[in-house]
């Protein structure tokens, strides 16, 4: 794991995965803890824990933008709350992915980068279906983020979803963590893989 200096200065080279985690109560989430632990041990992954860094929501825009610029892959990890990201991740998108930076005239900072979403849900896979009680698929719920990637000229990676995260037993979570680690590794350039 690399830790970004909090100075707002860009990392030396554009490479690797910026893994941005947003969970307001990570201490209560076995699934997200397990996933984060598996991924952040990889070299080439920069880990940012939004709720830990900005407990008062006072996001440092320059630092965050520098982190985005310095990485090829932007990975967002979060529990699906009301079919969307937790509040601070939305705030982070609102404040950091600015017009003129991420999109619009002169907003080319993220062009060509890849956006990867890793998301946990409470309900099982069957609920995310036209006939399930959530009535829509995960792809459909993630459309806002997919369009965000598109508007910013980014490549949309197939999302990584763990369904029924709260009810999985430790063995099942461990299997998901291994799968997650492999998926993140596949996003890293070959030479930086472990």
């Amino acid at each position: 794991m690399t830790t970004l200096p909090n100075t707002g200065a860009a990392a030396p080279a554009t490479s690797g995965v910026l893994l941005v985690l947003a969970h307001p109560a990570l201490e209560r989430s076995r699934a997200n803890r397990a996933l984060a632990k598996a991924a952040k041990g990889l070299s080439g992954v920069t880990f940012r824990d939004l709720y830990e860094t900005y407990p008062d929501f006072a996001i440092d825009i320059e630092t965050e933008q520098a982190a985005l610029v310095a990485h090829d892959v932007i990975a967002l990890q979060f529990p699906l709350y009301w079919y969307s990201t937790p509040a601070l991740m939305k705030e982070w998108l609102d404040l950091v992915w600015l017009h003129g930076f991420a999109y619009g005239p002169g907003g080319e900072a993220l062009q060509g980068k890849r956006l990867f979403v890793a998301c946990t849900t409470g309900a099982g896979a069957k609920a995310y279906h036209a006939h399930g009680y959530n009535r829509f698929t995960m792809d459909e719920f993630l459309r806002p983020l997919e369009q965000t990637a598109h508007l910013c000229g980014m490549v949309w990676e197939t999302p990584f979803v763990v369904h029924g995260a709260a009810v999985k037993d430790d063995a099942a979570l461990k299997a998901e963590a291994v799968r997650y680690r492999a998926r993140i590794s596949s996003l890293l350039p070959a030479e930086t893989e472990v």
Partner: protein
């Protein structure tokens, strides 16, 4: 000694009675003093004489007035005003002198005497003009500025006049050197180059002393924290400069003005202003009284028409010249008329110059007496003339309503916020506000603190902020907010209380020691208070929670909840305000308050609780049940 006391009683008594009456009648304080003087004078009730001693003492009021004005004029402002001072002011003296001289020649005076009369009468009265403009609220605007520029040049012009007037002598001088208080008493025996050199040396001494000596002196005094010595030092400076100027033959008032300008950028400016202000008021009052007492009533009675013609002629002529010049220099009609009306009288310099010219054989004694009376009457008429001007202006306004109010301020920009106390507490608040673009004026009595802040270009003034006059000088009347961040419990309450009484609409925020103090401040009119240790203690508690393993956001929320809970109990425990309740609160045992707080903590805040955030137990239960039924299908 007895006669001195009795005289003082008469002077003060006259002022105390006639000035409030004059003010009540809308005549202004200047006229009140003048009337008091006339009534007390040798020709009416004859309670006091127009003694030269009193006059000299009273003239010191003018000196102080100019010192205070100097304090308000930054050197840069003076430089910006150079056109007003030398152009407008110079033109006024020359043209008025020639016009008056012309009329005098027509009336049959020899040209030399006529020119002398013209020069003497061209002077206006600094004291009366500025005091009157001040009362009308006109001194800070363009009118006040123009008038001030002219007055300043007249003060300057007096110096060469003492040299020039003797050249106009038509008869042999009787006592050439007798030049009143403005004569070059010590320097006349010196050769001319030495006189000039000493003038320059004196000016350099004032500027240099003001720059390099006064500040360390005041710092030294400030550290002793003796207010009366500070006042004494301020007076010492004014008196010292005045006597130095007199010694080299310059006008003491001009010297005081110069000293004021030199000190205008010093951090002690507000304190100086506040300390000297009462002297100015009283001494100027005394000055006006002596002018009133000097009005030669028998002369008025014997030659009423001559005198009336003289006064009206003089004022009309000066008014017209001034009006024309002001228009020529681009002033709007209304402003030009105001300046011309304000400056239409003869000045106190005329008294001195007339005495001097009689001695120098330029003007005959009977004529001088007549002119002295005319000047005194014209001074007395000035407040009335200003009232007349206002009436006419108001009548015109009623017809055409397009008044543009005078907003141009002489002073630096007005502060949004006044911060009293800039120690550990005030500076954090102040920095936050400044960083967000608000202008603040800081009052502090820690000299080292001030020094440091001033090096960073902050607007800081030395002084005890609990003094209402100092707050006024700092601009509290126009400020939006007062922040009391003093390091003293009693003074904080005192300041909040007096500020609230004086300014019911001002927003007052205050630093409180503890709960009791906070309640006290709110009861005395503070809009909001902050217990000085509360937020920092809470912040340290948050860090402690994190070090004990809480995630940052959880610790943050825990602190937020605690803050809200504490604020609520703060409000609940705040007693109903009234004398009795305040008394009960004051005597209440602090431990009892603590007990109630702890009980409230227990009943409202459960351990580890941050409002049940993201507690998914029930959801998980539902999902488990769902998974089981789905699995069974």
């Amino acid at each position: 000694m007895d006669s001195f006391l009795i005289q003082t009683v008469f002077y003060l008594g006259a002022a105390v009675i006639s000035v409030p009456i004059a003010k009540r009648l809308g005549l202004g304080s200047v006229l009140g003093y003048l009337i008091a003087g006339v009534l007390n004078g040798p020709h009416a009730l004859s309670l006091v004489g127009a003694e030269a001693d009193v006059m000299k003492f009273a003239e010191f009021g003018v000196v102080i007035l100019l010192f205070l004005i100097g304090l308000e004029v930054q050197p840069s402002t003076l430089w910006e005003m150079r056109r007003t001072i030398f152009g407008f002011g110079g033109a006024q003296v020359v043209v008025t002198a020639l016009a008056v001289a012309g009329v005098a020649v027509v009336l049959g005076l020899p040209w030399q005497t006529a020119l002398a009369v013209g020069l003497v009468l061209a002077m206006s009265s600094t004291a009366i003009v500025l005091q009157t403009l001040d009362e009308k609220g006109l001194r800070q605007g363009p009118v006040g500025r123009a008038a001030f520029g002219v007055l300043l040049l007249q003060d300057l012009a007096v110096i060469p006049l003492f040299a020039l007037l003797p050249l106009l002598a038509t008869v042999a001088p009787t006592t050439a050197g007798e030049a009143g208080s403005h004569g070059a008493s010590l320097m006349t025996h010196l050769p001319i180059w030495a006189q000039i050199a000493s003038v320059f040396a004196a000016v350099a001494a004032v500027v240099g002393g003001g720059r390099y000596l006064v500040r360390p002196l005041f710092r030294f005094i400030a550290e002793s924290r003796l207010r009366e010595i500070f006042t004494a030092a301020a007076l010492l400076i004014v008196v010292g400069v005045a006597s130095l100027m007199q010694m080299v033959g310059l006008s003491p008032a001009l010297g005081a003005f110069l000293a004021g300008v030199v000190l205008a950028e010093s951090e002690f400016r507000r304190e100086l202003e506040t300390d000297i202000e009462p002297f100015r008021g009283l001494l100027l009052g005394l000055f006006f009284i002596t002018v009133g007492a000097g009005v030669d009533l028998p002369l008025i009675v014997h030659k009423p028409l001559t005198l009336l013609g003289l006064v009206l002629g003089l004022m009309t002529l000066k008014f017209l010249v001034m009006l024309g010049l002001a228009r020529l220099f681009g002033a709007p009609m209304r402003g030009a008329a105001a300046v011309a009306t304000a400056l239409a009288q003869g000045g106190e310099f005329a008294f001195v110059l007339l005495t001097f010219t009689v001695g120098a054989g330029v003007i005959g004694a009977p004529l001088a007496a007549l002119l002295t009376a005319a000047v005194a009457v014209s001074m007395a008429l000035t407040p009335l003339a200003m009232m007349l001007y206002e009436r006419i202006a108001a009548a015109l306004d009623a017809a055409v309503t397009d008044v543009t109010p005078d907003t141009g301020a002489f002073d630096e920009g007005e502060p949004d916020i006044i911060i009293a106390g800039f120690g550990r507490f005030g500076q954090i608040t102040g920095r936050l506000l400044t960083a967000n673009g608000f202008r603040s004026t800081v009052l502090d009595s820690d000299i080292e603190q001030i020094d440091l802040l001033r090096r960073f270009g902050r607007r800081v003034h030395y002084g005890d902020a609990t003094r209402m006059d100092l707050l006024r000088a700092a601009g509290i009347e126009r400020a939006r907010m007062l922040i009391v961040a003093l390091d003293d419990r009693e003074k904080t309450v005192e300041l909040v209380e007096t500020a609230r009484k004086a300014f019911p609409d001002l927003v007052i925020l205050a630093r409180a020691w503890d709960r009791r103090h906070a309640y006290d401040l709110l009861a005395n009119g503070a809009d909001a208070v902050e217990r000085e240790t509360f937020e920092s203690a809470l912040s340290l508690g948050t860090t402690a929670l994190q070090k004990l393993g809480f995630r940052a956001h959880r610790a943050h929320r825990a602190a937020s909840f605690f803050r809200r809970h504490d604020r609520r109990s703060f409000e609940e425990l705040r007693p109903m305000w009234g004398q009795e309740e305040a008394y009960i609160l004051a005597s209440r045992d602090a431990a009892k308050t603590m007990e109630r707080l702890l009980a409230a903590d227990l009943s409202r805040l459960r351990p580890g609780d941050a409002g049940g955030a993201w507690d998914t137990a029930s959801l998980e239960q539902e999902l488990r049940e769902r998974a089981q039924t789905e699995g069974a299908e």
